[in-house]
Structure formats: structure tokens, C-alpha cells
Amino acid sequence: MMEWLTPLIVPFIVLNAILGIVTYVTLLERKFAARMQSRVGPYRVGPHGLLQPIADAIKLMMKEDVVPTAADRPVYNLAPIVFLIPCMLIFATIPFAPGLGVADLNIGILFFLAVSAMEIVGLFMAGWGSNNKYALLSAMRAVNQVISYDLPFIFAALVPVLLAGSLRLSEIAVAQAGLWFVFYPVIGQLAFVAFIVSTVAAENRAPFDILEAESELVAGFRVEYSGMKFAIIQLGEYAHVVGASFLGALLFLGAWAGPGPEWLGPVWFLVKAMFVFLLVTWVRWSFVRIRVDQILALSWKALLPATLVLLIATAVVVVWRGTPGV
């Protein structure tokens, strides 16, 4: 009986935990940004504004759902869901502690990358379905950017894979028991920086948020969305960022490794993921947005060759030092 239920219960728990984390990550970001800007941030709803995300969610649920008359209705309505599914699926392969995860695939990281590449379909559906020129332009930018930054993202993420000698995320985590990959001489730091940069870009966060670009394209591909559909898109975006933060913590910061008893592992993992998230947030709130052509140039002319060279260098080091870990 229980064996049959486990494949249902574990994803249920993980999904809800992720939803909770993602909701509260918005509060974290807002508080963090507020501090950067000498503000207080949300403060009125609940003690220290702790209930703000819940209030936001309720507000968005109560809002009128507007569908533009000229919209491509089925596409417009489906887009938020198509956008959300990959953003949630990426958590499937992440092991939150030894043996605690939905599915520890032996191609874990590849699955992560493949699923997050699917996000673009939902994004494009939103951009097209809205029948709005801002949205369409934003979707076109999205294609440019996602294609450009998926490659450096993959190459940067492959460095720990090479070092660990496995695509399975749990094995990569275990391989860092001795030395977190971020501390791996030279290669680790460079790969981490490249990973952060391409995460910021692949997640469309400022200064690479040309999709949203509210000063040019108002709100980009989600300009026509309101109420719950808007909330779902927003949720998907934050989920993706949080997912990438977990991946970063797993690939470079030793996942659940940390002092204290073993059951503290998931907590350590969360703390590290939040550290990566705040790093991304810090970048977001400090830079002005750069232009489309400059973003593409940065990817194709700097980041892609750099990560490629880094990957080859890692391969050489791994071969020179003999068979990698595990």
C-alpha cells in the first residue's frame, strides 16, 4: 500500500515545499532590495511584513482576469501553465538530502537543462497569444537570449559534471564531500562566476531582463496578463530562479554538506541556495539593463568561448589527474 503511495506523496510534499519557498523568496528579495535602497520594504502585513506574500497571492486571485479581444484565446490561456510546468519539473531531479528527492535520475543535470529549455515554449505562447506588439517583441528577444545563454549555462554546469564524473546530481553532491567545487583551484571559481552570469541571463533577471524591460516593452511577454494568470507566470519565473539557485548550490557549494547532524542537510542546502539567490538578486538591483545586441555579443563573443575553454581545461585537468571521483 505505502509503496504504491510513495511516488505520489513525495512529489506532493516537494511541490508544496517548493511553492512555499518560492512564495517567500519574493519577500526575501523585496526585503533585500529595500535594504539596498535604504528602504524598509514590506512592513505592514503581519509582523515585519511576513504575511505580505500571502496577501499578494490573495490579491492576485481576487483580480479580474482580462483576456484581450484580439488574443489567440487557447494559446493565451494555456501559456501560463505551459510556462509553469517546466519551471516546476526542474525540481524533480534535485536531491534535497541523500535519498530525499523525487527522482534521482542518472542524467539529472541533463534533465534539468532540457526541461528548463522547454520554458521558452510557454514564454513564446504568451508573447504570441497576447496579440500585442510589446509582447511579441519580448518573445523575439526571449528566443535570442535563451538560445544564446543556454549554451554557456550548460558548459558552466558541465564543469562540475566533469570534476565529479557523473551526470547524477546526487553523485555530484557526494563528490564534493572533500572539497566544494567552488573552492577547486581556479577552475571552480571561474566556473561559478560563469554559472552565475549565465543564470542571471538565462533566467531573464536584470541586468539581462530585456524580456521584461518595462521601460521599453512595458512588461514584455506578460503585458496583457492579469490576476491569476499573471501570478502563475510570476510563480514560474521565481520557481525557475530558485531552481537554478538550488542547482548552483548543488553544483558548486557542496549541496547538503555542512556542520551539525545529518538531518540539518536540507536546511544547509536551502541556506546555500538562498545565498546563490541573493547573489543573483544583488546583481539585479545594482546594474542598469544592457541592450539586446550587447547581451548577445556578451554571450557569443565572451561567455561562450570562455566557458568552452574552461570546459576543455577542466577535461585536461581531470585526465591528467586520473579518473575523477566517485
Binding site: V75, A114, A117, M118, V121, M140
Partner: protein, 164 residues
């Protein structure tokens, strides 16, 4: 019926349905979305066959990459909003001949094959095996493919470049 079979038939319906939709939809953009669904369904079939690596690559390259490029091509080349593009071909006869030929070919290949009753168990790490085979036994073909891709890329750049 096992769970595998249920999943297979569900996927099959989705696959065939979406594949038909790709060619029957009048709206080009919708056709691409059906194509994305079809390709994702294919990835599902691979997953059922325990070929996780192929499934992931299918998603990464086809459902993610190729669909994006197709959509992009549509957006760049066609009138954007509200236009319906004719998708019917006037050369139905020729199409039927080609389709029939391909069908015959496939049927011919399938005919006479003996399918095992049960799927053999997976042995070892498939991903690792694929990697090793590609890098040893099929390294020449692999590299040739890479060269071909490079040539295609250069050709694309040549054609896309604005006339100076």
C-alpha cells in the same frame, strides 16, 4: 494491461493526434505548438524505453531548440498578427505517392521482424555506454557530423549576412 502499456497508449494517442494536428491546422503558429507537443511526446516514448539520455536530448534539442528556431523563423519571415497562411498543397498526387512509398518501406522493414515478448532488462549505465561508444567506436562518424554541422552553420551565416 501494465502501467507501461497504459502510458504507452496514452502517449501514442497524444503523439498521433498532435502529429495529425501539425499538418491539419491552418494556423502556422498553432502547428508549431502541436509540433512541440509531438516532440515532447516522442521524448516520453524514449523515457518509457528507459532511454533517459535520448529523452533529455530530445527535449533539449528538439522541443526546446528546434521549435524555438521554427517559431522564430515564422515570426521573422511572415506577417505577424491575424494572417492565416495557406497550408494545403496543390500537389496532392505527388505527396500521396511519396507518403505511400515511405509507408511501404517501413512496413517492409517491420514485416518479418520477430518482436520479443518482453523488453530485455537494461544493463549498466546507458548514458555512460552511449558516451563511450560515441567517443570510441563511432568517433569518426561523430566528428564527421560535427564537420557537417559546422558547414551548415557557415552556410547559414553566408546566406543570412546582409549584402555589403
Amino acid at each position: 494491461m501494465t502501467a507501461d502499456a497504459v502510458a504507452f497508449w496514452c502517449l501514442a494517442v497524444v503523439l498521433v493526434g498532435s502529429a495529425l494536428a501539425v499538418v491539419l491546422t491552418k494556423n502556422l503558429f498553432h502547428a508549431v505548438l502541436w509540433l512541440a507537443l509531438a516532440l515532447t511526446g516522442t521524448a516520453g516514448v524514449f523515457l518509457l524505453l528507459d532511454a533517459e539520455f535520448i529523452a533529455a536530448v530530445q527535449l533539449l534539442l528538439y522541443a526546446g531548440g528546434i521549435v524555438t528556431i521554427v517559431v522564430f523563423a515564422i515570426v521573422v519571415t511572415e506577417r505577424l498578427v491575424g494572417e492565416r497562411i495557406s497550408q494545403t498543397s496543390r500537389r496532392i498526387a505527388g505527396g500521396a505517392v511519396v507518403a505511400g512509398g515511405v509507408l511501404a518501406l517501413i512496413l517492409n522493414a517491420v514485416r518479418g521482424q520477430v518482436f520479443p515478448a518482453a523488453r530485455p532488462e537494461m544493463v549498466g549505465d546507458l548514458t555512460r555506454t552511449v558516451g563511450e561508444t560515441v567517443m570510441t567506436r563511432f568517433v569518426l562518424a561523430f566528428e564527421l557530423l560535427a564537420v557537417l554541422m559546422l558547414a551548415a552553420l557557415m552556410g547559414a551565416i553566408y546566406f543570412a549576412r546582409p549584402d555589403d
